[in-house]
Amino acid sequence: MTSVGTDVDRVDGPEKTTGRARYSADRVLPDMAYAHVVLSTIGKGRIRAMNTDAAAGAPGVLRVYTPFQPLKLYPPPPGYGETYAVLQDRDIRFRGQVIGLVVARTFEQAREAAALVTTEYDAQQPSTSLAAGSPGVTAPDQGQGAPPAKFAVLAPGVTSIDQALAASEVTVQGTYTQGSQHHVAMEPHATVAVWQDGHLTAYCGAQMPQVHAVSLAAQLGVEADRVRVLSPYVGGAFGSRVATWPDIALASAAALDLDRPVKLVLAREQVFTMVGHRPAVSQTVRLGASADGVLNAVSHKSDVAMPMPTVGSWVMVPAQDTSGALYKTPNLAIDQRVVPLDMPPTWAMRGPNEAPGGFAIETAMDELAVSLRMDPLRLRLRNYATTAAGTGRPWSSKHLRECYETGAERFGWSSRPRSGTVDGQWLVGTGMATAIYPAARFPAAVRVRFRDDGTAVVASATADIGTGAVTLLSICGSDALGIPLSRVEPRLGDSALPPGAPAVGSAGAGSTAPVIRSAAQAAITALIDLAVTHPDSPFYGMTADQVRYHDGYLDAGAGRSMGFARLLKLTGTAGVEATANGGPGPEAGQYAFHSFGAHFCEVRGNRFTGEPRVSRFTTVVDIGTVVNAQATRSQIVGSVIFGIGHALLEVDPLEDSGRLAAGNLGDYLVPVNADIPDIDVHWLDIPDTVYSPFGARGVGELATVGSAAAIGNAIHDATGIRVRDLPITLDKLLG
């Protein structure tokens, strides 16, 4: 009986809920010193002088590093994060940049001394306005066969998207804006670095432990095989632990210089500027349609704030997998631009392109439905796409229509009151939107090892960033080996393990699950090989095809059956293992790959004071095979909560000075329990065997996409007010 698709408790749940799980900052090593960073307090310019005398003389201080007395560091490899190395020059690129590191015997001493460092600057006026810088320049190429940032697909005889729009019977246009947002994972970024015999072990949160190791080695100027990253427990990531931010290299370099372990835990406020955040973006969507709602033209232009060229490397492309993939249209134009600004680093955040992009196109579709006086669900069904725009490729598996239908039925969409109702002090409205997220598949290697105590190890250098990946290793290992979950020991979060799938792009599960099956099969083959070739084995001398493996046993028929633990003991073998590799095959060039979903929600706005409160939410998704029902539900609920934050609360204004005005958890509002209604979640559970033989595409980010639009559309239904600037706060609803 497989546990695939059932509700499985986290295998690391007891460790996490009892505090026994040791996160990076929980590591305490003998002789460990504590570091604290000093950050710039101007938005652009150059350091003229720094006075570190008081800090250096403060109790317990071991060393103060600054650009005048630096640790030697190199930039991360291109694309791995920022484009410069901290402490190597006196340039201030943004406010909140690392300009110093104080190391002391205790945390309190390091923090007190860091506050004693004074800095004189030659300040310049930073460039901080997205609006003033728009339109920007065409976004840099994303590489890896990605479509260009700017392209158009036009019907025969059509010369431009403007012409196609002009020829449409009905057009709508909207500009949708949002400010900076932050991941605010519960665990602040933390590193414990320790060197031994020229080899570094860094305990830090990593979505891709091996990529972290490669980047860290490059920043330290050492060979990659001298760096090991250990990241067994990660307190949330959402994209904030893909790149290596300066804290890891700083702690590691200081540990080398001082020849003792160093711990560096960022204060929450420091995470806001040192760790890349989701940049502000302005998007203009234009839609052209016939009077009966058939799309003729879709145009999606975006301007994204980007700290180029000194800081940024990841580029947001909001339109590609949203407007570029959602609807059937003969004419499509996408123009994704960036606006260089002097601001803290930016990076991918959950649904990095698609959450903002989805808000724009799915709000515009609602505006079109309103303009056509058409049910917004019917408008979407009327423009249902069966092949991907531009390429004509079919989807590997697409059941969005069933998501719409099932979601509408669960929510009661067809019997909803039209154009809002009033319930006491509250205006009530309903809205819907589509979710879409690309289904990438990454190469992954997995090792399966049978051990003589009857357990099996399933190991891969992927990461569990709170998603349940470690439990997935157990579930899939148990399924492939036919042994109970309790007899599988999952291992991940270690760069020394076989190269695993990165925990990014919602592709960790989809990329790993099929390879666990292959690795289990290879380990079984190796086990049978041992059984028939080892003289002490009761199966000795048989051919491999005479011995069958099932449920932890080797079986040659006629009562000749033996558990693998006993076989290993009889043969004096501690373990038998095999490693398998897997990744996308030729199907990658023949199909389009996305996951899909449909959101329906009810929002109430106070008729006096405007507060919008989400009161009901239904989300139905098509993600292929579900591995762990409980974790899947959690992921979807979490994604919708992200959407509620996106729609109603989350913004960090960038001031003219380059200061992020809400760089702390008191001012940067994320939803609390009271903001979250019961969220009704459903999935279709239709395997996508084109994507992989296992059929699971992954779920992490999908439901983040479109959820903000569904909320905004419901607010419009309730109040008649269309808010195109996120978050939709009560002051925008006072009418």
Binding site: R111, Q425, F608, T609, S657, R659, V672, D675, L734
Partner: protein, 324 residues
């Protein structure tokens, strides 16, 4: 956070003796410790007053008396407070989080510092934190800032909810200092910022709040606190209103109204109280009564919505309490 001396005296007299200079009293610590970590407050000595005999909740014919060290959560769940002064219980329950309310004291609540982001960030100018350094909020992000009682030196709001309710109920603060006991109306306890926003109240050096009293008011049973904010919980008020109504025959006989989130101190609205007297308990009547509630407001670049929101907050609060 810098190193500091620490004392935990057992008597009020001893606490006052140990205070002085750059000292700070520590009660629940929910403001002080937070601001010490941010280097916003840097006392050289911390005097822990938690051992002092400043507890006790009394509800009787004379009104309400709260010891300064009563925790917010204990006051909020006291049956007498809940039934006779619901506006106080509600203001407390809508404050902070349960964990903070379990720690924070009533006296400390009245003395909590503003949530202005510039006050809390030592890398920006702030006249309240560093007199004469300037006010970054005037030209910075000021969506949450005050519109009433502001000056060119400071536009920070007073953050307390329960202080708004207590001001509406004519509460007094009992003080104990080197020169003995005294008491002040809470409404007069707070200063306007003027040119000295670092001086927030009329506490004398080393003086302690020992208790809070509220005079008896039978119709305070018909009261309520409305807090308007972006997040449904665990956030400070954009606007708030403490309202008590004495209604008979569908007509307001007497009213108490104070507002929060808009003023540099808890803001009583006597003109609105007077305008309510004799009006019917209808939405239209409330709208007329509060029409001038925000007169004199000085909105900033990002909080121009607050005067209108304030009026609507009052109408909503009055409507809700009027229906009780």
């Amino acid at each position: 956070m810098h190193a500091y001396d620490f004392a935990a005296p057992r008597s009020i007299r001893s606490a006052i003796d140990r205070a002085g200079g750059e000292s700070a009293y520590l009660a629940g610590g929910t403001t002080l410790v937070d601001l010490m970590k941010l280097e916003v407050m840097t006392p050289s000595r911390v005097v822990d007053i938690n051992r002092l005999p400043l507890k006790g909740i009394r509800v009787d014919g004379n009104g309400l008396r709260l010891g300064a060290l009563e925790r917010m959560s204990d006051v909020a769940r006291h049956p007498g407070v809940r039934s006779r002064y619901p506006v106080v219980a509600q203001a407390l329950e809508l404050s902070a989080s349960q964990q903070l309310r379990n720690m924070a004291s009533m006296g400390g609540n009245l003395l909590q510092r503003t949530r202005c982001g510039y006050f809390r960030d030592t890398s920006t100018p702030c006249n309240k934190r560093l007199p004469g350094s300037g006010c970054a909020a005037l030209t910075g992000e000021n969506r949450t800032h005050a519109i009433l009682g502001t000056s060119d030196s400071c536009v920070a709001t007073h953050p307390s909810d329960v202080a708004v309710a207590l001001v509406a109920l004519d509460a007094q603060v009992e003080l104990y200092g080197p020169h003995g006991r005294r008491s002040l109306p809470l409404g007069d306890f707070y200063r306007l910022p003027g040119n000295t926003p670092h001086l927030e109240n009329h506490l004398l050096p080393r003086e302690l709040i020992t208790g809070i009293t509220v005079p008896s008011l039978s119709w305070a049973r018909h009261s309520g606190y409305l807090k308007v904010r972006d997040r449904q919980s665990y956030e400070f008020a954009l606007t708030s209103a403490a309202v008590a109504l004495d209604v008979s025959g569908g007509v307001v006989r007497e009213a108490r109204v104070a507002v929060g989130g808009v003023g540099t101190r808890p803001w009583r609205l006597p003109a609105v109280e007077q305008a309510l007297v004799g009006r019917r308990t209808t939405e239209a009547a409330y709208e007329q009564a509060v029409a001038h509630a925000a007169d004199g407001a000085r909105p900033l670049a990002h909080n121009a919505f607050k005067p209108e929101l304030l009026r609507r907050t009052l109408v909503r609060a009055l409507t809700t309490v009027g229906e009780l």
